[in-house]
Amino acid sequence: MTEYKPPLNDIRLVLNEISDISRLCDLPGYEHVDVETIDGVLEELGRFAAEVVSPVNKIGDQEGCSVSDGVVTMPKEFGEAWDHFVDSGWGAISQDPDYGGGGFPLAIHTVLTELLATASRAWSMGPMLTAGAIDCLHTFSDESQKEVFLPKLVAGEWSGTMNLTEPQAGSDVGALTTKAVPQDDGTYRIFGTKIFITFGEHELVENIIQLVLARTPDSPPGTKGISCFIVPKYLVQDDGSLGERNDYRCLSLEHKLGLHASPTCVISYGENGDGAVGYLIGEEHQGMRYMFKMMNNARLGVGVEGLAVAERALQQASSFALDRRQGKAVGAEAGEQSLIIEHPDVRRMLLTMRAYTDAMRCILYANAATLDLAKSHPESEERQLASDRAELLTPISKAWCTDLGVEMTSLGIQVHGGYGYIEETGAAQHLRDSRISPIYEGTNGIQAIDLVGRKLRMNEGKVIRDLLDEINDFTESLNQHGEEFATIRSNLADSLQAVEEATAWLTEKGTEDPIQAISGATPYLRMLGQLVGGWFLARLAIGAKNNENIGDPDFRNSKMTVAKFYAEQLLPLTRAQLGAVTAGSSDLFAVPEELFSI
């Protein structure tokens, strides 16, 4: 397996050109952050990811994790890397300074997520879920809860989880039945079984803070009756020290396609009969509302996983292609076998991976920047605009990027030929590790429905309208950039036209007959992602010309090639989705269900 080289120049360029990082540094609250500081931070963070986290990736895949008598065992290297993580304090980078955080923009948290997830997807699940728990507590819990839990979580000394899923309640969170019984002292007792809980039990840290969705007695059915609770593994005493073990247990771990060393736990609350002690976050019955508020951050984070696996697969495939000799490339001298990178088809695969990886990074980092603006811009109108844009981009970040993560890791295997299918090279691990991201944090099917059903209707369609207008203005402005951009311009215009048609069709049908619109949701998300990716890559190519301090000329020129390749060879796939979007539901339901039964 090749080592991981953090793509710092790519990240810098995207932060500059797409996230407009210097504008983010000017927002209130980020006074202590400037581009130079960020540069220094990226350097060390990259070194940490490459030297400390990346080496555990394959070990985790091979050793996995196990549970015995409620105690989860992971590779010892996972623990060592975690200890380094705590010492280094990287988890705190974008957290609130009041609780020990570094107060950097969210866009920089996105860099952290990318670097850790590319270094080791399985290991990075711990910090990722912990960040989610911090987000929830920070936004919704009361001050005394924050003081007890946040500093330790921010420091990485404790880890966090999200406990939503139950066997009958996956996508349909409202079907959950875990109970929370109020006590006289204001606490609750939790009873029930959760499944698929990532990092739900392990020994890497001294305490685990479970955030559990449950129902109080007589709560309304469905999502309206869900409340959210803090359930620590060890109860925290008044002086901050750890007391009694709470009444829950990890019953088993799932055996999975990938992420072998990330424990996916079945957890039973209230095994001993007393119930696990839980503390209500915010108000009763508001749990689902809280989850919705946190969703943008969490979904962006999962989208970054798609980028991470693609980047890792690309690095691996590139170095393999520069080493493996096979066949004679056209025009090569007789005698020696050619490097496979000299074959046009291998080049096509590598450039495809490069282009999609760059496009994903642009979409994700743009999305992160909108979240920063939505949070911190001094003017409420700007905050609202940014927040609307974030809402629109989020399902694309999550679904487009994670679908592509799977496709690109598969292509990475293809570059390796048979050696990719053999575990030894490590190429297969990336594909296996990539496959979960389209499923959890709202399946990609549900992301598409969210896009078509909710996001297109926001402000009576103005939010999507603004985005398409912006792409249109940009496309026209490409005139000033000369012949070099001619095909980018014409293909962006054509793809935009296709998306316009699809959007108009969905908007009309969505009101008339929702099932027609929902039937085309997935191809619509794909086409919108494809268009937005092409738009950003063209902007990145222009930006690369203006950023002479980032990377060398070959690097900067390559961004023009990438934008052109994408526009000419990948962007046309946008229009190809149009038929699927506007086909409606008739064929989908024309085949009777019986014919699917075997």
């Binding site: 500081t37 931070v41 060390e44 963070l45 030297e51 280094s88 304090g89 980078i93």
Partner: protein, 259 residues
């Protein structure tokens, strides 16, 4: 206990740049980083100060152009402050000139201990530490792999070809430490942020009271007469194992006098 660590800032070995054919020296126009050899001295100094319970780690560096990238890394690891000497008259400085400058900078405070690496990664003459000791009239201990301090006395394990010697010497002293003897810590996020505000005092020759004629090209006693490309790597010898390969490998290594 106060420790001064001499740290050299060098071009990134991953992006080494090139030689200037006129002066036969390295073009130093790329970004400079902390010489990895010196990260061990920094780590050791931090551990010694930690063990002593008080005192601080200070850095001294001579670098063209006022570059501080490498110093910031060492400050982020935990050093408290730095002295950076830059002066156009220092261009062309040989090892002795470098030692003069470093010695003068070290003298500005009264450290209990001065640590250096045994040799730098780019120049590797391995002579600067001993020259600093001589100029400051201090004991010099080289090739330290373990250093313990007890009051006014340092006990040093010195790496030798066959193992190590244990030597003692009174403080203050100049001790050079070999690479790889401690695990340099990663700069933490907080350390990086704190380093932004740590003092880096920039000095020129006049501030140090050094006559420009005694250093740089003017004062150099070392001359680079020729530079040449390193010889291309020759093809290795392939030993096919037909049962006796180990004997041939042993004979080969014996010839190289590495056994």
């Amino acid at each position: 206990m106060d420790v001064v660590v001499c740290v050299k800032q060098i071009p990134d070995p991953a992006d080494p740049g090139e030689l200037n054919p006129d002066t036969k020296t390295l073009k130093r126009d790329t970004k400079l980083i902390l010489d990895e050899s010196d990260s061990y001295g920094v780590e050791m100094a931090l551990q010694l100060v930690d063990a002593a319970g008080s005192g601080e780690v200070r850095l001294v560096s001579m670098t063209p152009g006022g570059e501080t990238g490498g110093l910031r890394t060492a400050l982020a690891m935990g050093a408290e402050s730095a002295i950076l000497v830059s002066d156009e008259a220092l261009a062309g400085s040989d090892a002795l000139s470098t030692a003069k400058v470093l010695a003068a900078a070290i003298k500005r405070s009264n450290p209990d201990l001065i640590l250096t690496a045994t040799e730098s990664s780019d120049g590797y003459t391995g002579t600067v530490p001993e020259q600093i000791a001589e100029l400051l009239d201090l004991p010099s201990v080289t090739f330290g792999k373990e250093v313990a301090v007890d009051g006014e006395l340092a006990t040093v394990k010195r790496q030798t070809e066959s193992g190590y010697d244990v030597v003692e010497c009174p403080l203050p002293a100049v001790i050079s430490v070999t690479a790889g003897v401690v695990e340099p810590r990663y700069p933490s996020f907080k350390g990086i942020m704190a380093a932004k505000n740590k003092p880096v005092e920039e000095l020129d020759l006049s501030a140090l009271g050094i006559d420009p004629q005694t250093v740089g090209w003017a004062g150099a006693r070392q001359e680079i007469t020729e530079i040449a490309d390193s010889p291309a790597r020759e093809a290795g010898e392939v030993v096919v194992d037909e049962g006796e390969a180990h004997e041939r490998i042993m004979a080969f290594l014996d010839d190289l006098k590495v056994l």
